[in-house]
Amino acid sequence: MALTHEIISHFQVNVNREDCKKCKSCIKNCSFGVFSFNGKQIVAEHHKCVACQRCVIMCPGKAIHISQSESCLPPHGNYTEKIRNIIWAQSGTGGVLISATGNDRPIRSIFDDLLLDSCQVTNPSIDPIREIIETKIFFGRKPKKLDFTTASNDVNEVSLKTNNSVNFEIEMPIMIGHMSLGSISYNACQAIYQAAKELNIVAGSGEGGLHPDFYEYAPNIITEVASGRFGVDLNYLNNAVAIEIKIGQGAKPGHGGHLPGEKVSSLISQTRMIPEGSDALSPYPHHDIYSIEDLAQLIAALKEATRYKIPVGVKIAAVHNSAPIAVGIVRSGADFLTLDGFRGGTGAAPRIIRDHAGIPIELAIAAVDKSLREENLREQITLIAGGSIRYSADLIKVIALGADVAMCCMPVLIAMGCRVCQQCFRGLCPWGIATQDEILVKRLDITIAKNRIINLFHSWNEELKDVLGAMGIDSVESLRSNRDRLRYIGPNPRIAEILEVKHAGE
């Protein structure tokens, strides 16, 4: 790139010369090649720094700190620095810009504009330390009604006539979203599945197939059938508690998966069943699904293949017409439906799509819950909502808006050590999470990572119970779609209308 178009550094790497022991730990630890030793001292190339904090934490002399670059472009409110950088990057490469994690535009979060209700006087709140509050969820399709053989009033004499549809139980209304082996490392997958098993919740496999080492976690894994069909065989389908057909992902609605060749190591090549080093780009649509009846066929085929023993669901990105699409999907026989909002994460996605396509999960879940109810289909399925469930407050609010289960990924990665440097697509993750480099992967201690995930969701669940208790609710079922317990304080009353949530004070 000609010097005249060089992009200025975002970060400034400061090495305190007095504290620096010249041990070169920073050179070893920085996978982005920021540091070098010039014979006299450590020098840093600031423009390569992504502020991942690896060098800062690993420096034995605590000699490094990263600050935001002081140098600046001439300010402009419209042509922001970010937009100018996009233009320079594109005019330099001629390509589509790739990004990772979720939408980073400062768009107002609707979750943050919602407030929760609590009990006072007329109803007593429930103290979760002294009373039982239940957070167990049944995952799968439920019958519309139950039929019983006798009309006897003795419970012990009544027997159920309705065939029990396939359901499994999870202890908390939480699902760890689909992050494939490929987008994240073997160690990260291992930690996630172990945590899911210990917590008795579910985790998604992503579309990268399932390594045989992970078959033992099958009772807690939802495998994904995506447009690339990577790793899909009968073993894969049967080694799961549920199967999800991935139509879309919140970070990139309308796109398939992107796994850059840099991350396709021999391990990945085996589980995905593709050549080493090749880009794994799954097609935008499923090439056997060009409309709803095709989806119904795929659902039926997967159910047939697994002998109707496990639920089959569908994931779609939250887009403008999510509501009618969702109704169609449930009519096609899906046992559960996953909605992924526009802030959802990704290991790699075109920046243009990540930042500009889709709609917020808050609005999508409200609209989908409503139209499923209008068709009297809502109670029969499990509705999962993801797309930036950042902490327990979002989890609680998304359930009150209509979800059965909240799905999240980023908090899991952050719990394991991710600093959100947004470079996942480069395969250089210095924390051993979003990389396939064996040396980097080893940096992630599986047991520590697993325990941190367990701690995180344990605390979410306790906070959920705390809020339920304050609301005078002793089971999470009674929060679901209970929008009466939410109030809106944002600037746009139209949003409250769509959410069917009253304004605070009403």
């Binding site: 139950l146 009033n153 003795d154 027997s159 209008e374 005078g472 679901r480």
Partner: protein, 397 residues
């Protein structure tokens, strides 16, 4: 008594939900013998602390034996226009057998009295199994679409009498002691946030199901959205309405036995279910999974009158028993009494020194008391719903 707000609340209160504390009472004579409402009035009016003069009501079963095969509509109407509209509407839908005012004790110097009217009604085809469903539609239609009209009750051989006032005033106004019924329910209110309105008083009724309720349903939003899927319209801004509709949905539309329906409303905890044998676990878990939105949360105790076809009285409190419910059985075991407080039972012993109870007990939290006409006490609410595994045997293993 308050001579205003008959069929609807003033506009400014309409979007508020009503929160209240309440007194509830009722009894059923197992042999079907009919007794005057005097007894239930005594039971209710002693619970003075539980009301503030802003609403009370009574439901009586077995009062219209002459017309027992016809639907008995009790109407609350603001004016003659509403009455004409309702009667014209009903004539289009079926046959009006009898149309008359409900006898009331007119207060002096009040010029804007409501019209309290009853109609005995039959649909074109008697014995059609869809008749009940048609009546539900008619009730929903009148309550939502005919201005200034409200259906207080719509069952057969029963009726609801309610209004805005103290429990004794309402009893006097409707001359409750002149009716004879085999089952009585009664309710008095302590609303916190609205002036009270006649239609919003309890009991809430749909067909033969009447509910008196003390408490606040914290799962209201979930329950309401569930019911709306099935075409129910929750127009009254009060929790109790959803309880009546849930029972109608479960017991009539889904034809679920009452003992199972009460489990759906207040299911056992998962940790209790886990102690059951495999078959029962499947049963209880299926109920919890399928009817997860029918579960009532928050503090409540309810007494329900129902007949489909056997007249039944049900008492139920929430899973944590945050509202009181006490049950008594007469010495001859012919009458089952339920009330918010034991003082209701003691009240009956003041004037009649020979009167005594065989037993008085507090049902377990979330455990229904069910008493059927002819069959007596089906469930006393003390049962441990769950049959525990033989723990000793397990330990021996």
């Amino acid at each position: 008594m308050r001579w205003e707000n008959y069929t609807s609340l003033p506009e400014k209160f309409r979007n508020q939900r009503v929160f209240d504390g309440c007194g509830i009472s009722g009894f059923i004579n197992i042999d079907g013998s009919r007794v005057s409402g005097k007894k239930v009035i005594e039971m209710l009016c002693i619970l003075r602390e539980r009301e503030n003069g802003l609403g009370a009501g009574y439901a009586a079963y077995g009062i219209y034996s002459k017309y027992k095969d016809y639907y008995a509509f009790h109407f609350l109407l603001d004016d003659e226009i509403a009455k004409t509209q309702v009667l014209e509407y009903l004539e289009k839908k079926g046959n009006i057998i009898q149309s008359e005012p409900i006898p009331t004790k007119k207060p002096v110097n009040i010029d804007n009295l409501p019209i309290i009217w009853r109609v005995f009604f039959e649909l074109g085809s008697i014995n059609n199994p869809n008749n009940d469903e048609k009546i539900v539609k008619i009730v929903m239609d009148i309550n939502t679409n005919i201005k200034n009209a409200f259906v207080m009750s719509s069952g057969k051989d029963m009726g609801v009498f309610k209004g805005n006032g103290w429990s004794n005033e309402i009893a006097d106004f409707y001359k409750i002691s002149e009716y004879k019924a085999y089952m009585w329910l009664a309710h008095s209110r302590f609303p916190t946030n609205t002036p009270g309105w006649w239609a919003g008083a309890h009991p809430f009724n749909l067909l033969n199901c009447s509910v008196v309720h003390n408490g606040e349903i914290t799962s209201y939003g979930t329950n309401r959205r569930y019911l709306e899927s099935f075409g129910y319209k929750c127009t009254l801004s009060t929790d109790t309405e959803v309880i009546a509709y849930l029972i109608d949905l479960l017991c009539r539309k889904h034809n679920i036995p009452m003992s199972i329906a009460t489990i759906a409303l207040a299911p056992p905890l998962f940790e209790e279910i886990e102690k059951l044998d495999k078959k029962s676990q499947i049963l209880f878990k299926s109920i919890r999974a399928t009817y997860r939105s029918a579960m009532l949360n928050g503090p409540f105790s309810i007494v329900v009158g129902y007949s489909n076809p056997v007249p039944t009285m049900i008492g139920l409190s929430d899973r944590k028993k945050l509202r009181p419910l006490v049950v008594g059985i007469s010495e001859d075991e012919n009458t089952i009494y339920m009330s918010s407080e034991e003082s209701s039972f003691r009240r009956l012993m003041i004037n009649d020194h020979d009167f005594n109870f065989k037993d008085i007990w507090h049902p377990r939290s979330g455990n229904a008391v069910i008493a059927e006409l002819g069959n007596g006490l089906i469930k006393n609410g003390l049962e441990i719903t769950v049959k525990k595994n033989n723990l000793l045997q397990e330990e021996a293993c």
